[in-house]
Symmetry: C2
DNA sequence: GAGTGAATTCATCATGTGATGAGTTTCTCG
DNA sequence: CGAGAAACTCATCACATGATGAATTCACTC
């Protein structure tokens, strides 16, 4: 009985793997998914490793620490400067609609939702991430937007718009309240547009 | 040297304390503060105990588990049925303003902010709490509100209002973006009122 | 005043975590 | 081909966590 060791067991082997698999990308995708689904604290290096089919120590080899893995997994695919500029140019009477359309379309892009949720979940619990987000909002969004608005309290208005966007993400994806969670972009844009339009100063 | 035991050291003693201190309430307040500040996962029983001046085992004695402590700490001081009814009666042309005023005033009540933050932070990370919130929103809020609205897609509109409220809490208290975080109720109500009014169907 | 039960702490367990360092295998470049 | 670097795993550490059970002290009732 002691000599019964058949081949069926897919043995774990130490050392470098054959074939140039893009392990780094695999790991980043697994991390993104895990952070998105469970939040920063609950997502464990071990679980991420398991999801990527890799030992947890490899994550440290690549990224050094959980913090840095998180940062690497988050890298955002949008140039805020360009996006803001593009949204603000054009007919100001329909800027609210442009914003609504832009945000909802952005969230439909592959990989974006994972990043968004990871960010929101982490910001809710980790002061460090909240600070990062605060600085980003203030410097990249509010400052640029407020400079272009011809209304009283432009910062406050820009931030209220931001708050509606965050709230939408929470209600729709984190809390998942129906029918909001399943509503289509076409259904939501006409309802959100007036809100954004109002904040940005148009009647 | 072995007999040197002076009074300065505030000895920890085992056994029941003298004087009928309301330890349970103290613990609940400490728990609320801790859950609000750090979120469910990061708030440890030990830290809560320390903040309440009590051994962590006592929390288990009183509440059985961390889950149940959390639930006990959260008990909400608002009758949703009554609140919704009160907000919806009266002049529908200014219902948006009533809602804005109500929410911002509620958050100023002592103890409410702690509960709100604890809830939001936990909902963001713990699926169980998210589900609780989802059910609450759907059954207690959306159902009641939608029944009273004379517009298309009343549920969607009620939930968008909810999303703006959640987003406001996130932006203001969790992320803490300025000047939103420090804005007064008087500054915010006129900006929020049209949004709520729009969602609830008034022009 | 004795005795029951609640309030409270202490010591301890099992578990999961992020991190580290050493060892093994493959790739790449001369 | 041979050497060094990169990719990868294993074993392990130190630590924090939630939970449990026994032990001690006080309050309250008969």
């Amino acid at each position: 009985m002691t000599t019964a060791e058949q081949p069926p067991a897919p043995r774990k082997k130490t050392g470098r793997r054959p074939g140039g698999a893009d392990t780094r990308r695999t790991v980043l995708e697994a991390a993104r998914a895990e952070f998105a689904a469970r939040g920063y604290e609950k997502a464990s290096m071990r679980a991420i490793g398991r999801a990527a089919g890799v030992d947890a120590a490899l994550l440290h080899h690549y990224f050094g620490s959980k913090d840095r893995l998180f940062m690497a997994a988050l890298e955002f695919p949008v140039q805020p400067k360009a996006a803001v500029a593009q949204l603000l140019e054009g007919d100001r009477a329909v800027v609210g609609e442009r914003v609504a359309e832009f945000v909802l379309t952005l969230w439909e892009q592959p990989g974006v939702l994972d990043r968004l949720m990871a960010l929101v979940r982490a910001a809710a619990t980790t002061e460090q991430v909240a600070r990062l987000m605060r600085e980003f909002v203030q410097e990249e969004l509010v400052a640029r937007i407020a400079a272009e608005l011809q209304v009283e309290q432009p910062e406050l208005r820009a931030e209220l718009m931001f708050s509606q966007i965050v709230g939408l993400a929470m209600a729709r994806y984190v809390i998942g309240v129906e029918p909001l969670a399943s509503a289509t972009r076409a259904e939501l844009v006409p309802l959100l547009a007036p809100t954004f339009q109002g904040y940005l100063g148009g009647a």
